[in-house]
């Protein structure tokens, strides 16, 4: 290397980027069933535009493995026909992909304005106290991860909690937190209030 003689290249002091590479994780390949599911999705885009199926492919990884590991990214790159760097680029941009294992139930509390005005901060506080974690952490038994997230597009049902990217629990208050946690422990996702359809 012939850059500047006094620069400490290669040392942690020089390498200031906060970027962490994804952990490799266990070996990964789509199940036959998921492979087929992905093929059906790829068919929605023009044949030379397979990369459009990247987000759907990553969702399938997450469904299969719970998070998106380095190995999974390499596998997705191979299936889609792009580079692993391109996959990592995308995974690291979107908040709905977890790059590390998370709890069985990821409790994401919206803390944007309308929810905050209706006590979302108190809901996260109560959740964290009840479970003994800080936002972003997972309980020791691997059951719950608590996170804060931005507006979910349901501000009339504030405060909103989204569980595992797919399930909603609405109009929460700090006082409801013990029941929410107990419900998930006992009955799982079936205990959630969900959306209108559930009631129909």
């Amino acid at each position: 290397m012939s850059f500047h003689p006094k620069m400490p290249y290669g040392t942690p002091q020089w390498h200031k980027s906060g970027r962490k590479l994804a952990e490799e994780g266990p070996p990964f390949a789509f199940t036959a069933e998921n492979r087929e599911k992905l093929a059906r999705i790829i068919a929605r885009y023009p044949p030379d535009r397979r990369r459009s199926a990247l987000l759907p492919a990553l969702y399938i990884v997450q469904e299969q493995q719970g998070y998106v590991s380095g190995h999974a990214m390499a596998h997705v790159a191979e299936v889609i026909g792009c580079t692993r760097a391109e996959v990592e680029d995308v995974v690291s941009y979107y908040v709905m992909f977890f790059t590390q294992p998370v709890g069985t139930y990821v409790l994401q509390v919206c803390h944007t304005l309308s929810c905050a005005l209706n006590g979302a901060g108190r809901v996260s506080e109560a959740l964290c106290q009840h479970l003994g974690v800080k936002p972003g952490e997972t309980t020791a038994d691997g059951m719950f991860t608590v996170m804060e997230m931005e507006c979910l597009g349901a501000c009339d049902r504030a405060p909103v909690v989204m569980i595992n990217n797919e399930h909603w629990h609405e109009c929460q208050s700090a006082e409801d937190v013990p029941a929410l946690v107990a419900g998930l422990r006992e009955k799982g996702l079936a205990s959630l209030s969900g959306c209108v359809h559930k009631k129909e």
Partner: protein, 437 residues
């Protein structure tokens, strides 16, 4: 004319309002039949006559947008429906898609015919998984009845509709970033020109429209552009959905016409203030527009009416704050959102959002100095107008307008080291608040 009764959301509260059978019973897909018998130019003409302006934020005339698609371009053309709905305070597209999905699908077919597209992608935000399931289920139903796909009802018109799920990024709602995301990349905007109507998805001519905009199209075809144009004030025509949230008694989506005032929306539609507390401030168009005070409540909640009082209609997301709301806290809540969501492509936005957040945090901790207020203004003014996409301009109203109307609250922090207001009952303990962000 005031809209006499809801038309977009008339049946949403009924059980199973979303099914194809119920939609057909309500006269659904009649507008599509009409459109399939019309020449494409005639459809564009009707939409132009109706005066429909885009409901996604900017209020751009929809008919005019469609006419920008070049006719002689041999490439395929696309419709992308913007169902990213992530402007804080907005939840109208959510309701439309969840409870009246066929209105959107019908609108898509009409729009595709109007500018020569054969495929539409509905880009839906990742968090709306339950809505996506409804949409996909209803898509299948419509395909099964020959209302979508090849040679629709023997008209020779083809139209395929696909739902594409995003993965949590506010910036994906910006039209060119949406296209990038749909192509399997980071949701970061493109430099324009060329505009998407000429070079869009996969390099092909593409129209991007908001869900509510497309849902208005069947109404225009069904009831006629004259009827549509007779609703609401001039240049702000048609039925409009308002999302009202925050400190109101009955938050929700309300449909009326744009001659309504902010005061009517709060007190008549949303049932007034929550828990009998006093009104303090209102954000009339999503987090990206200026905060207004009591003095502006009689303004018309229309595209032009809100510009007159120094704000914007944006996505018609009305957030109402009562007397317990600390406006410096509010500015920081919104700036934290923008800091988190900045796509990072250009420096003023990426770095500026962080600076604003740090300055506001410093003031909130009681460590602010008098010059920090000037610094806030200076940082904000060096973001506005200096970024690649309108996100930069969308970030600063929260700071500029709270400084304008509530400067005394900022000054109180600087002088006394604490808020002018007692701690609001809905806020977490100070210790827990310090942990987040």
């Amino acid at each position: 004319m005031r809209l006499p009764e809801p038309v977009l959301t008339s049946h949403v509260k009924e059980p199973y309002a979303y099914t194809l059978d119920n939609y057909l019973k309500r006269g659904g897909y009649a507008a599509m039949r009409k459109a399939l018998a019309l020449a494409p130019e005639a459809i564009v003409e009707q939409v132009k006559q109706s005066g429909l302006r885009g409901r996604g934020g900017a209020g751009f005339p929809t008919g005019m947008k469609w006419s920008f698609v070049p006719k002689d371009n041999p490439k395929p053309k696309y419709l992308c429906v913007n169902a990213d709905e992530s402007e804080p305070g907005t939840f109208k597209d959510h309701l439309l898609m969840e409870r009246n999905p066929h209105l959107l699908l019908e609108g898509c077919v009409i729009a595709c015919r109007a500018f020569g597209a054969k495929a539409a992608y509905i880009y839906i935000r990742g968090e709306f998984y339950h809505v996506q399931r409804v949409l996909e289920e209803q898509l299948e139903e419509a395909y099964a009845r020959g209302l979508l796909g090849r040679d629709i009802l023997g008209s020779g018109q083809d139209c395929d509709i696909y739902v594409h799920r995003g993965a949590g990024a506010y910036e994906a709602g910006e039209e060119s970033a949406l296209l990038e995301s749909l192509e399997g990349k980071r949701a970061q905007p493109r430099l324009r020109p060329p505009f998407p109507a000429v070079v869009g998805l996969y390099g092909c001519p593409t129209i991007i429209n908001n869900v509510e905009s497309i849902c208005n199209v069947p109404l225009i075809l069904d009831r006629g552009p004259e009827w549509y144009a007779s609703i609401g004030p001039e240049k702000n025509q048609g039925p409009k959905l308002y999302c009202i949230s925050g400190h109101v008694a009955r938050p929700g989506v309300y449909e009326t016409s744009m001659d309504v005032t902010l005061r009517e929306l709060i007190y008549d539609f949303a049932g007034g203030m929550k828990d009998g507390r006093q009104f303090k401030a209102i954000i009339p168009g999503g987090s990206s527009v200026n905060v207004l005070t009591e003095a502006s409540l009689d303004a018309q909640a229309s595209f032009d009416g809100l510009v007159k009082v120094g704000s914007m209609l944006g996505s018609a997301a009305i957030m109402v704050m009562d007397e317990t709301t600390d406006m410096v806290w509010l500015a920081d809540n919104l700036i934290s959102f923008y800091r988190h969501e900045s796509c990072g492509k250009c420096t003023p936005c990426r770095e500026g959002s962080d600076w604003l957040h740090k300055l506001l945090q410093k003031i909130l901790r009681g460590e602010g100095a008098a010059r920090d207020l000037e610094l806030l203004l200076s940082v904000a003014n060096n973001i506005g107008g200096k970024t690649l996409c309108p996100f930069g301009d969308a970030m600063i109203p929260s700071v500029l307008s709270t400084l304008q109307h509530f400067r005394d609250e900022y000054e109180h922090y600087i002088r006394e080291g604490r808020s002018k207001l007692p701690r609001a009952p809905w806020l977490p303990s100070a210790a827990a608040a310090a942990h987040s962000h």
